[in-house]
Amino acid sequence: MAVKTDGIGKQWDPATYEVGAEKIREFADAIDAGNPVHRDHEAAKAAGFRDLVAPPMFCVVYSARAMAPAILDPGIGLNLATMLHGSQEFEWNEPVCHGDVISTTATCAEIYERNGMGFYVFQTISTNQEGEQTVKGTWTNIVRGV
C-alpha cells in the first residue's frame, strides 16, 4: 500500500501564541536552562534583549499549535497509532521575548515512502508581531507499516 501524497503543499491557517513571562520561566525550569535572562526582566534587558527572553527550544511551545491541525488532518492521513517523531530541525533568527505575539504557519513539505515506512515532513515558519522570523522548523514524522 502506497502512502497518499495529495496533501503535499497543503498549508494550514496561522496559529497565534502570546508569550508570557511565567510560561518562559516554567519552560526554562523544565529544561534546566540556567541563564538569568530567562527569569529576570532586568538581566534580560542588560544582556540586550527587549525583555525576558525564551530559550531557543521554547519554539516547540508556540509552534505546536500550528502543527496539531496538520498532523490531525484527515486529508494527510497520518496514522497516529504507529507514528514516531523521526527527526527535527530548527533554524533560529529573532529571539522571542515576553509580550511577543508569535504567528506560525505549517505547510506539508513532503510525503514519501521508504522501506515500508511513510515519511511526513512538515515545515513551520514563525514570525513575531513585527513580521520578523523567529524560527523555521522542519518536522519529520515516520509511520511504520504503510
Binding site: D29, I31, G34, P55, P56, V61, Q88, E89, F90, W92
Partner: protein, 131 residues
C-alpha cells in the same frame, strides 16, 4: 571558546531527569501524550515504562551546545536531530559533540545524546555563534 577548531570535543553536559521530570515538561510544553507520563499506559502499548519526551532530550542537546556561548539564547543558530532511541527518567543523559567545521566565531558541531550505550539522539548537528 573562540579558539575551537575542527576535531575539538565540546564539554560534555550530564543531566539526570528525575522521576517526575516528564510531568513538568508535559506541563511546560503542552505535550501530555500518556506514553511520557503514565507508566501503566506505556506498558500497555509495549514500552518498558514511560519514556522521555524527544523534544526535552533535544533541548538538552541545545543546552549542551549553547554552553559554548555561556548559554546565550542568541548563540544557537540551527539544530537538527534524529530521534533514534527511547530515553528514560532516572537515567543520566550525556550530551557530547565534536567540532566539524570552524569558521571564525561560527562552529558546526556533530553532536549526540546517550543514556549509557543507548544512543537516544544521533546524527545531530548544531551551528553555534561563539561569543
Amino acid at each position: 571558546m573562540a579558539e575551537l577548531k575542527q576535531g575539538d570535543s565540546i564539554p560534555e553536559l550530564r543531566v539526570t531527569p528525575d522521576k517526575y521530570l516528564p510531568h513538568r515538561y508535559a506541563g511546560a510544553s503542552g505535550d501530555f501524550n500518556p506514553i511520557h507520563i503514565d507508566p501503566e499506559f506505556a506498558k500497555q502499548v509495549g514500552l518498558p515504562g514511560n519514556i522521555l519526551h524527544g523534544l526535552w532530550m533535544m533541548a538538552q542537546v541545545a543546552r549542551g551546545n549553547a554552553q559554548l556561548a555561556d548559554g546565550d539564547p542568541r548563540a544557537l543558530k540551527r539544530l537538527s536531530v534524529q530521534f533514534r532511541g527511547m530515553g528514560f527518567p532516572e537515567q543520566e543523559l550525556v550530551v557530547s559533540g565534536t567540532v566539524k567545521e570552524a569558521d571564525g566565531d561560527r562552529v558546526v558541531v556533530d553532536t549526540a545524546a546517550a543514556q549509557g550505550d543507548n544512543q537516544v539522539i544521533r546524527n545531530a548537528e548544531a551551528e553555534v555563534q561563539l561569543p
